[in-house]
């Protein structure tokens, strides 16, 4: 979970999530408006630079996070560049403009998303969703999911280590068997852990609603203004770039 670690260490961590979301939204809007590859490339670069320089996210980490989506991008755009007809599959240069537009737009939007997720710990985003009036059951699901993710993952890692120590992954057949056992064990724990959490919550006066103190961001007003200005400028710059 490199994104999680980056968000916790980011310089923008304590800024209000509203401002960061506004900025990311502006980036996505700009990407949706843009009609020229050069504008999209510049937009993607600008968003990445802001994340790297202003929010001080390490370059190595940024590239590591970028790698899996780039894999998808490579496979999908190549697929678009191949035409299939009665002669079988062949190279189709006519699709190049659309493919490159699509790839660059995806990169720009991804850069906008990363500007948000690499600087904003998930609990802050959940707080934002709460303010956006996402239904209660979904919010509770998210809060519990986020907390238990790390607990279950630790259980999974420890189980995996314990099985490996007893040669549980020394061959393909035994690996399958081990993996099945581990998955089953964890699945059963879902009920046990849920019951234990419910009991522990009741001990603290839980009466059916999960409520937590909303975080306060003393400089929210100033940060939101900054983000709104920066976002507007971004969109204006993209639109102006298209005309020029």
């Amino acid at each position: 979970m490199q994104i999680e670690a980056a968000a916790q260490a980011s310089r923008w961590r304590d800024a209000t999530p509203t401002a960061k979301a506004l900025f990311a939204l502006a980036g996505m809007t700009a990407a949706a408006c843009a009609r020229q590859p050069a504008t999209l490339a510049a937009l993607a670069g600008a968003l990445a630079l802001v994340t790297l320089l202003a929010a001080r996210v390490p370059v190595r980490l940024y590239l590591a996070v970028l790698l899996p989506p780039l894999g998808f991008l490579a496979v999908s755009t190549l697929t678009m560049l191949v035409a299939v007809d009665f002669n079988g599959p062949h190279w189709n240069p006519a699709a190049l403009p659309l493919a490159s537009m699509t790839a660059l737009r995806a990169l720009a939007m991804l850069a906008a998303l990363l500007a948000l997720t690499l600087t904003t710990p998930l609990p802050q985003l959940l707080g934002l969703l709460r303010r956006l009036r996402v239904p209660e059951p979904l919010l509770d699901l998210m809060a519990l999911c986020y907390r238990m993710l790390f607990v279950l993952r630790q259980a999974w890692d420890e189980g995996l280590a314990a099985q490996s120590a007893r040669l549980g992954y020394s061959g393909t057949r035994v690996a399958w068997r081990s993996l099945g056992l581990l998955t089953a064990r964890l699945a059963v724990q879902v009920w046990q852990r849920a019951a234990a959490l419910d009991q522990a919550a009741q001990a603290r006066g839980y009466a059916g609603t999960l409520s937590f103190l909303p975080a306060v961001y003393p400089q929210a007003r100033r940060q939101n203004t900054c983000a709104a200005i920066a976002g507007t400028l971004l969109i204006i710059a993209v639109l102006a770039g298209e005309r020029a």
């Binding site: 907390r147 409520s211 975080a215």
Partner: protein, 278 residues
Amino acid sequence: MTALIELRAVDHVYGDGGYGLRGCSLAIHAGRRHALLGANGAGKTTLLLHLNGLLRPAAGTLHWQGAPFDYSRAGLAALRRQVGLVFQNPDRQLLSAHVEEDVSFGPLNLGLDEATVRRRVAAALDAVGMREHAQRPVHHLSFGQKKRVCIAGVLAMEPAVLLLDEPMAGLDAPMQEELEELLGLLAAGGVTVVVSTHDIDFAWRWADDFHLMAGGACIGSGPAAALAAQSELLRAAGQRPPLALALHEQLAARGIVPREPVPRSVDALLRTLNLETA
């Protein structure tokens, strides 16, 4: 004096028919430090879950300041406002991945206004020395830190009674000392603290009252000094006499150290020896 909490002949029966508690009677008096001593499986955790109203007895009754427990929704809410419980495993207790959020859960359930909750959360985090970690994610904390967040989450409800299930389990010596100090401070601040443990040396060092558990029953209850001397009773609860006491007895018998005061720890005994030598 009326006991704060009293159990009268309480039975608890598990789903599979086994007994968790069997005719368990004991009294928790206010303002004292209580140690619940017994081997694994003696019923310590089950007892704590009863004290907080999370389990209901199959037979027998529990009383809060003389009145029977009220298991209605409002009654339980009132009870849990007074009696806080810290579980042994932090991972089963922490609901939010964010320290401050988790600590705010209990006080918010009490229906307090936001300003009061904020004040209480800050005070509770201060009390356990975790104020500077308020904004951190729980999964970045060490085991000992998680434990302290759990305690803060209960302290923020400002209970009259604090129950802790095996609080020392998994902590190393320096962390145990810190926690012991914290528990001492809380007790000095007027909170009645009940700790379950199978470490009699810690219990002897720290507690005013012992409650010995065996086979789901409380087989002995009273001031620590009175119970620690009864080695038969201790053995029945799977305990040996406290080391400090056993040593002191030997040394006092030989006139090496004075009969009084009886030391609460081997360290205290060592200090006495040093003084005597000097």
